[in-house]
């Protein structure tokens, strides 16, 4: 029998990739390797509906268990890959077994950056949110009256703060930059979420540096800030960014540069090895790009599948993202990197507004807060590589829908 296609990494990208291989007619042997003990599942709900108890674990699964048999896909869970030899076309698992592949995909994802142990990063009660196991460890601690310290004001930290507030915890969030969401959004969007969290009683402290977490008998009891302030806490959630899982690739001699370097066909620097998802660094619109999103995991995973079967087209995604906090849905279309200007558009409902990002006169992204129409129109216009003049975007009297049909 022919050697299988092996996919290393059983997250969203790996799941999308194997499904697409089958959908495109690949009927050879196919093996999915995952380090976690569970079949591929959706991660976004972990910090939202799963951790709050609204969504049961079986509904997180991307495909039901029976699907893998129906599709004749072999899965090996709790399986860590120890080595990869591009020359021999083999992978070695931690149990010593050696598997040959015909083609290989690396969908190894990413992991949260942690606080160093010297400042209490490994104390009990200090969490990150990435895996089901993380969420399962945090969930029982989300009880009214507990004190949560969130470190990092990005989306994951803000989502955790929102869930914790709705569960009745006392929440303090510290962000070392001048404002929350500084790395990913314009000041208008930061302002909106600062106000939202303030209204729900979460204490947001920006330009605030952590000096150290404080433990007693190995368990977190609080934190000391650089300005000397002491904060008591029963648990801490650390959301200070994620790192691509590219170590296996670099140990195997593949080109790595803030993730596994791939070309527009998801090919790594080694023959017959592809990469997709959070772990992959790809060329997009003239710049090296690494996206940490479900959209990219799905689209690039599917693109890699097609490329593995010989498709030569260039991966040219339209990035989109979302976040849920309290009763607000944030939807983001496009990528705002390098923006030079923003325009605020008030929405039609309470708490609804959108922020339109421009580079020069060119629309590049939209943040829509409880305003699905702004998101929908922005996404459609960006997909068509068109723009909407700033004056029109900022004027609530302009009918947005009219821009859907302009060519």
């Amino acid at each position: 029998m022919a050697d299988p296609i092996i996919v290393i990494g059983a997250g969203q990208a790996g799941a999308s990739l194997i499904a697409k291989l089958r959908a495109l007619g690949y009927d050879g042997p196919l093996l999915l390797l995952g380090e976690e003990p569970v079949l591929p599942y959706q991660r976004p709900p972990l910090s939202k509906k799963y951790i709050s108890g609204e969504l049961a674990v079986d509904r997180l699964l991307i495909r039901p268990p029976g699907w893998y048999d129906e599709q004749t896909i072999e899965t090996r869970l709790s399986a860590a890959v120890r080595a990869l030899s591009p020359r021999d076309h083999t992978v070695t698992l931690s149990d010593g077994s050696v598997l040959r592949y015909s083609k290989l995909a690396l969908t190894t994802g990413s992991r949260p950056r942690r606080l160093p142990a010297e400042i209490g990063g490994d104390l009990a009660g200090v969490f990150t949110i990435r895996t089901l196991a993380d969420a399962d460890a945090i969930a029982p601690m989300l009880a009214p009256g507990k004190r949560l310290l969130v470190i990092g004001g990005g989306y994951i930290g803000l989502e955790a703060a929102a869930v914790a507030r709705s569960k009745g915890l006392d929440v303090t969030l510290i962000e070392m930059a001048d404002r929350i969401l500084q790395r990913v959004a314009a000041p208008l969007t930061s302002d909106y979420f600062r106000e939202l969290h303030g209204r729900h009683g979460a204490a947001i402290r920006e330009a605030t540096m952590l000096e150290t977490l404080i433990g007693r008998e190995g368990r977190l009891v609080g934190a000391r800030l650089k300005d000397g302030t002491r904060i008591d806490a029963d648990l801490a959630i650390v959301g200070i960014g994620i790192l691509p899982n590219d170590e296996l690739a670099s140990q195997s001699g593949l080109a790595v540069e803030n993730g596994i370097r791939v070309d527009g066909q998801c090919r790594t620097s080694a023959p017959d090895i592809f990469a997709a998802g959070d772990c992959a660094n790809f060329p997009w619109r003239g710049q090296r790009t690494r996206l940490e999103s479900v959209q990219n995991a799905i689209d690039q995973g599917e693109h890699a599948a097609a490329a593995m079967l010989g498709n030569e087209s260039e991966y040219d995604p339209m990035p989109w993202f979302w976040s849920d906090q309290y009763d607000v849905k944030l939807q983001i279309a496009g990528l705002n990197r390098g923006y030079t200007d923003t325009v605020l558009r008030p929405g039609k409902r309470a708490q609804s507004q959108s922020v339109w990002y421009y580079r020069g006169e060119e629309l590049i992204a939209v943040d829509a807060m409880n305003d699905a129409l702004a998101y929908a129109v922005g996404k459609k216009v960006l997909e068509a590589r068109r723009s909407i003049p700033k004056a029109a975007a900022g004027d609530p009297a302009t009918e947005l829908k009219a821009w859907l049909s302009v060519s």
């Binding site: 976004p44 495909r63 699907w67 129906e70 479900v294 979302w322 699905a372 129109v377 459609k380």
Partner: protein
């Protein structure tokens, strides 16, 4: 368990049982129904679970809310009067037997 039937654009039919409270998008993904993708997992951000509810069932399934109405503006296939995002239709005993037409995309 109540049942749902998808009619694909080539006329093929897929019927499956769905637990009460689960969305018809989740059911479609679980049953490998082509062209119902559900990229965003049902949070009204992608419009990739677009279906046409069969006329006989449209009223029972209920009208789309405002957010869904807005998202229906960007479906890949043409929007029609019976268009819904199937992540927003939750299975119930009243919907036992519901028929959904899957657009060609």
């Amino acid at each position: 368990m109540p049942k749902v039937t998808w009619i694909l654009s080539d006329g093929r039919k897929i019927t499956a049982e769905v637990a009460v409270g689960h969305s018809l998008m989740e059911a479609a993904v679980a049953n490998n129904v082509p062209n119902v993708i559900g990229e965003c997992g049902g949070c009204l951000s992608c419009a990739t679970c677009h279906v046409y509810v069969d006329e006989a069932w449209y009223a029972k399934a209920g009208k789309p809310e405002e957010m869904e109405q807005d998202m229906l503006e960007i479906t890949a296939a043409e929007r029609r009067p019976m268009s819904r995002l199937s992540c927003q239709i939750k299975m119930s005993d009243e919907l036992d037997g519901i028929v959904l037409h899957v657009p060609a995309i």
